[in-house]
Symmetry: D2
Subunit: 378 residues, 4 copies
């Protein structure tokens, strides 16, 4: 069993529990240390409810990084699920202490911060992953394979969207949404783009390998009284001539978490919707539209190995998260075994992808600020 | 029976037959004159196959306009289904002769031409319609009603698309696509935007009543060797603060004629896909997502009257066309009866909408030409 | 233009108008005579509204048969769309007068009546069609081709259903359903089975060629106070070992006219739903599930020729009806041209299929009456 | 942490891992003992890979039952995931030893065996669950609530099906299907009906509360050379006048695990498909068809509490299994706390449901054997 720790993810933190549950599904790592609150008693109490020993429960993540680094049975990686604003300092503390890291997205507030973290990572030869969930699905991995094998030819156009409807009403005292979410001091300069728009950027990049050369972004605050964006429409040009449109929204009633990606190439197209994650649609110029399924249809072994159940037995978000950890821990085992891990061959989203995401958000914000003009990624 | 004539729509013209068939479905107008070719013998032969009298078959549309205007039993309206390039002169000839006109979209090549035609129309008190097909569906009309009644509240965002896949391969001798389609001398400055993108502009305007204030358009020629656009991505700002994205494409394999419109407001949203025209999805903040059907569910009588068959008995494009003619002929009967017809109350797409469409295309072309910058509609 | 007449289908008769509209779509036959009511003035008035000459409007269908048979320009076929109870006598009158017939389904009340009509038909060398609508769709015809070509191998199992929801509430004064529909004196011994269940039998037979050897039928009257069936569940054994289940219902809320047929063979399966008539799903043991479309994908020319519009331009019930008439009139032209028409090669539902349908209903009623036991079709 | 053990579920046993993973997701029970093989070394090796202490790994389930019952820290329940043939003896051993049991379905080979086990259960005041997976979904639980609250009125008709395609080809040496699956000596008198048909019976009973009064069953072996059934069609009469049809199949290409249930009542209907488990369709006579979602829409708290993720974040089979264990362990905690647990109020499938399932299979087999005649459930 690999030993891991967690920073953040306390009693009311939804996503921390998702990470822990996903890791338990794999049954290859054990949570043995945690800093679940800046209030020691809270961290202690919650950690004990998770069967963690008292002496490995902390209220100060820096202390945790130092102590765990010093122990013989110290954690082998840490999961950082704190609010976005503190990702940078948490990751830095652990990377500097020589501990491998998995961090929630977005990696940091500024690209400069991500670049700094990656330097430390490389200096200390560590593994540093970012949990872009949707890359964990077998169907997404197989679409990447089909693109790489040239099954749809040279890429021409991408239409990707991420509509949600849960923020379509103004926030008030009684709303399900905490008011801080729309407070720029806490949430940074963007809400919709940074929270979900960044998933689109990552997912398209993961599946297609396309590099964005420039963007033209319009961020909207469509609900009255809202200061941060709740809707974002972005025109994207890629290196090599392909083009794209990305749309993300939190005011799209009728949509829950409907990530959708459509990729068109010279020879065919691919389409995938996150709410039906086991399948994708594969169309080629010479065959009728096919509905391809994990489990049922032939996948490349590199994708197939993430399929846990027979076709028709729905897998979901927990499995996608678990698959990211499966990829991460597989590389980690090599690394712990003193093998050299080439980041180009790993099968989890890396800090480099995290940096790309932060850069993308920065450029989109700049574009929007200047009146939705075109901004080069360089 | 109303008497009508047709210009264009000869033996190999697909769309001419669609117009004639749609009108026959309604059984309220009869084709009695035609100019089906500039070659008299061809026009004669084809017209006779449609049971039209020899003396009302022409090879010159101007002669037809004059002759028919002079007859006691002359046509009461003409349908213009010639190639786009000649819409202007055909419409002009009939309007000047005092004959009502229905013209295919796009109305003309330039906005100035449309404006001129509308002036003649008004001077001669004529009815002048443009066959934007998709406004003919009962479901589309009912969505308009719901918007007007405020059922989804103040509008915030529109995402509309029109993907087709049929031009995803290069055109060659053997292709199903005539090479002239991509020849700017014949087809004008745009293919995809002008042919199908303009349907999006019209459909959104029809359903929502929103006025575009500015556009940022990127037109792409994604198939190698192609000079005209086969894909168009457009950011749209509306008067009053709502925003939109429009995407049209002819290289989107897997899509046939998949017009889709999604409208989000303060209180709810509407979604409609042309390939399932009888239904739309209606979501409100306080009710689960509903699949509403023509025929099954309660529609406003103004939409319901266009429903011809019980729910579950699919209606399609022919019915949509027939509904546009039903609306047109209903107004025409009033006009022939010397009642004054207020264009604001008619239920068919007017020449004014045609003008809006041509303007929209012009501004998008200008935006694209300047590097996809924002262009005001004024 | 072929000349035809109509019996039934007066002002309030929904289906009569569908027949006339469908025939107009084809533009190859003209309605020149009619008996639209037993009340002469009603028949006259309605017929004149359809531009039929006064001297060819009748209140007595026998008189119509005789007169039309005697005229040089008499009708070349008659469409019988009277209430089911009078199909037999109307068809008989015209067949005996030597006039070709198209009759609505179910052909007659008893199999014996159908057999008698077919004898007269053959004696007088006439064409006799029955409008089983759903066989008119190109997708249905193509599925038949795929079965015949062995693409899904030897057939094993069929699951076919026809759920509707419109009779789920009791009938009262205000109901949309005329009370006579549930009156055995007018509607015969069955409502649901005879009205819609018979479409299933025909559709399966058309697509698969399977012959039923025995049935076990349970007919239910599920709405309180109803005497006739509104739901029918039937186990079917076919000659040669294949098996099937048929379900039809008029109390299935959420369903409008959802005919669905699923056919499973040794090598693959086919699935089609009437509410999305342009597509079918084709699955084989060696390929992912395909969504095949009229227009988009390759069809055998025998099916393709019924596709009127490009893929994505929805066709519906009117086109299905029109296709049946297209097949009928194509054979009729040969027959009028004194060519011999072999019923095995015609492409419209024949009276023989009508007889099969009536027999099927009789055997199901017998099975149900005896306690839902197995009844041989012989 | 509750302590549990497992019998069966060794290294190649797919379903054993699903049970363990589901329990780990809940994080409220720990696997501390196991009998994973009749070969001690295999059981030992596999158990150790799961971190189970050596002295709690067995090759004889009877020894396990006795030892564990005798320990102070003995298991608090056992999971039986052996081949169906040994369910009876395994369950019996543990129930007699006073240990609570969860057993895979079908509970036993004969109804008599199930009855005997239930007697022991009651004598020893134990909790005895059966893992009918599909009752674990929040959407299924909410449909049950809607039925119980009368939202669709008195029930009239049920159409339930469970099509799979994975056994559509003959079994040979190379097939993915172990040949023993079709060997009556190992698999009992039925394959399709017993394996998946029984899920239908349970699911309908769970959601509707309907009691079957009689059945008419036809079991088919549609693949050449097969002795056991791979397809089953069953007419069902319920007490109180409602009717149903059940279809299960393993030769239905195009279907993976497509459990579908449709329930029609006086006031409306419900429809749910297992491959989209988070949603169901709810139609009432006075509202358009609604797509209801776990998480998004209001559910009764008794169903809502099983929703783990926001709407749009797909949950699947693991969650369904985990929910069954959540219900079971919730009752178990009460029982261990010496509270009396009334089986009528528990929220997991009980042994009584297991018995109902076995009885149902027995009656269907009898019906089929006698020529698919009607058999009373008494």
């Amino acid at each position: 069993m690999i030993r891991y720790g967690m920073v953040g993810g306390g009693p009311n933190a939804f996503i921390g529990d998702v990470h822990r549950t996903a890791i338990r599904m794999n049954n290859d790592a054990q949570l043995v240390a945690g800093c679940f609150s800046r209030d020691y008693n809270k961290s202690l109490k919650f950690g004990q409810s998770l069967n963690i020993d008292e002496d490995r429960l902390y209220s100060d993540f820096k202390e945790m990084a130092e102590n765990e680094a010093a122990r013989d049975d110290g954690i082998q990686f840490v999961v950082c699920v704190t609010p976005n604003i503190s990702h940078y300092e948490v990751c830095k503390a652990f990377l500097e202490a020589g501990i491998n890291v998995v961090c929630d997205k977005p990696l940091t507030w500024t690209a400069k911060q991500s670049e700094e973290l990656i330097k430390i990572q490389h200096k200390n030869s560590l593994l540093f992953g970012v949990t872009y969930t949707y890359t964990g699905y077998p169907a997404v991995k197989e679409m990447r394979n089909l693109v790489q094998k040239g099954e749809i030819g040279k890429l021409r156009f991408v239409n990707a969207e991420y509509p949600q409807g849960w923020l379509s009403e103004p926030i008030d005292e009684n709303s399900k949404l905490a008011p801080w979410r729309m407070d720029p001091k806490i949430s940074g300069a963007t809400n919709c783009l940074g929270d979900i728009g960044t998933h689109i950027e990552n997912l398209v990049s993961f599946v297609t390998g396309l590099k964005i050369s420039k963007v033209c972004a319009r961020l909207d605050s469509l609900v009255e009284g809202r200061t941060l964006d709740d809707n974002a429409s972005i025109l994207v040009d890629y290196e090599g001539g392909a083009k794209g449109i990305y749309w993300s929204s939190q005011i799209a009633q009728g949509y829950d978490n409907a990530v959708r990606i459509r990729i068109f190439g010279e020879k065919g197209s691919l389409e995938w919707v996150q709410e039906d994650p086991d399948h994708f649609i594969f169309t080629t110029n010479d065959c009728a539209k096919r509905i391809v399924s994990r489990g049922r249809d032939e996948f490349d072994p590199s994708a197939q190995k993430y399929s846990r159940l027979p076709a028709g037995h729905q897998e979901g978000i927990y499995e996608a998260f678990a698959n990211i950890y499966k990829g991460y821990i597989s590389a980690l085992k090599k690394s712990l075994n003193n093998e050299i891990v080439d980041e180009k061959t790993v099968d989890y989203p890396t800090a480099q992808m995290g940096l790309d995401g932060v850069k993308y958000v920065e450029k989109c914000l700049l574009s929007n600020e200047k009146g939705s003009v075109w901004i080069s990624m360089e």
